[in-house]
Symmetry: C2
Subunit: 292 residues, 2 copies
């Protein structure tokens, strides 16, 4: 038994792990692939951190609490010679960040590959005890559209590898708003495209007001007055995008919350630009093309 | 909700899946890497089958029942041109075999890679309702050592890609033997090395009698009288190796069960050869070097 995590009855080393669970479990898996989501020059610590944080961000998007993680690594034979780190460094880093994020790694598998490094992280968790799992499909006309934090420039700034999954913020929003928190997603493909996912899953339309977008302070927009475009289109922000009815606090767990649009009847997600034009947000966004 | 699998409350398409659970969950993850565990020439159906079956074999090794699976694929851009199949073929095959093995795929992730195909399959399940999870660590001196089926030649024969995980056999053994089923593992590294895992986890010694080994009928041994060596050393059999006290049936769910050795005081796993020599089984076995 794991003293720090008493729900872990069997950890790594047997054919399976064994964890206690009660009622319902939320489940997600994600991968980071060298050349696509990370480059080896990030080093083992940030690569391990990002692999865990991407899956934890999915748990946050449901307002859940992570309870365990399983990790696989497909490890290039030449990793040590070309990148200066190896399997042991990655394992140490995974355990370090797993402790940091309070999620025990209960098992996994490492094997050699002739290709790039691939890490996968599966996370199981508990849905919010009162609100239940916050799905993409609950948005209704009249709800506001909100985001946490600031958007844009994640890749250029390196934040794509250092972000903190918004677990506490999501849980606090579910505590506070309960059923008024109607839908939620984490922003990985870019606000426009992820808000379009909410619209499609909920069978509604969403309008985003470009002038309200909280653009990150270090965004260098390609043209004057177009910084909002980075906030709407850049990927890998890993902030929360949610819809809610009624009052929503401007700050949650110390993180700003900004109303950036509204849910309307209809379908699709449109962005109203500062000059009043509307364009289809589903066609904007980001396809994780790091290093390609 | 999934009508065929009512414990799946949210399936693919949201940030997380949601499943019901009760009490305890067993968890495992494994991967198949092109060039190491599979070659593209196997085709999408057998690759998908093996990816699922390897993880299900870990569930069998604990005498559990699989309840859900999560799948990731790192997909080479040139897969279609060089192997003649693509992401859609793999997805179809994964869903086909998941239905075949009665385990719903509740989520996953696909992304491009510049390297070989990598599939990972995470499976969660329920431990045996009466016996509980069968660990590697329960073997005691005086127990017999048993294997299901026949051993050896898995790679040459192609059985490494077509085996059926011994889920029913494991559950029936746990039903029948209860606490007399003292430890269990699935044979992936070769009987000698996997029995050595049982010995180490249990703090006991194991002696295997080479003359008792059920050698598969199509094993072509390199030298006369050495077929037992293929049975002891070849990997990827995915049969069950278990220890039990008292009577054990010779057939379970139609699959032969053979007593191949005994648990003794001490440590390590030794194989007694037909000429009476003893050698260290932990140094035998297989490291999945397919195609390398």
């Amino acid at each position: 038994m794991n003293r720090r995590h008493p729900h872990v009855l069997i950890g790594p080393g047997d054919d399976c792990a064994l964890v206690t669970c009660s009622g319902e479990t939320i489940l997600t898996v994600d991968q980071v692939i060298e050349g696509r989501h990370v480059v080896a020059a990030l080093g083992p610590s940030l690569i391990a951190r990002k692999a865990l944080a991407r899956s934890l961000s999915d748990i946050a998007a449901m307002a859940g609490t992570p309870r365990w993680a399983l990790v696989t690594g497909a490890l290039p034979a030449d990793l040590a010679s070309r990148a200066g780190f190896g399997a042991a460094d990655l394992c140490d880093a995974l355990h370090h960040w797993a402790e940091h994020f309070s999620v025990p790694v209960v098992g996994g598998d490492l094997a050699g590959t002739s290709g790039p490094l691939v890490l996968t992280v599966t996370v199981g968790g508990a849905p919010h005890v009162a609100r239940g799992p916050v799905r993409r499909s609950g948005a209704a006309p009249g709800d506001g559209l909100y985001v946490t934090g600031a958007l844009g420039g994640s890749l250029e700034s390196g934040r794509h590898a250092t972000f903190a999954p918004r677990l506490s913020e999501a849980q606090a929003l579910a505590d506070l708003l309960g059923p008024r928190l109607t839908s939620m997603i984490d922003i990985s493909d870019g606000l426009g495209r992820d808000a379009a996912h909410l619209a499609r899953a909920s069978g509604v339309g969403i309008e985003i007001d470009a002038e309200r977008l909280p653009v990150h302070g270090d965004v260098h927009s390609p043209a004057p007055g177009s910084a909002w475009r980075c906030a709407a289109e850049d990927g890998e922000d890993y902030e929360l995008c949610f819809t809610a009815r009624g009052d929503v606090p401007a700050l949650i767990c110390g993180t700003p919350v900004t109303r950036v649009g509204a849910v309307v009847r209809g379908e699709g997600c449109r962005i109203r630009t500062p000059d009043g034009a509307l364009y289809d947000a589903a066609k904007s966004g980001w396809d994780h093309p790091l290093g390609e």
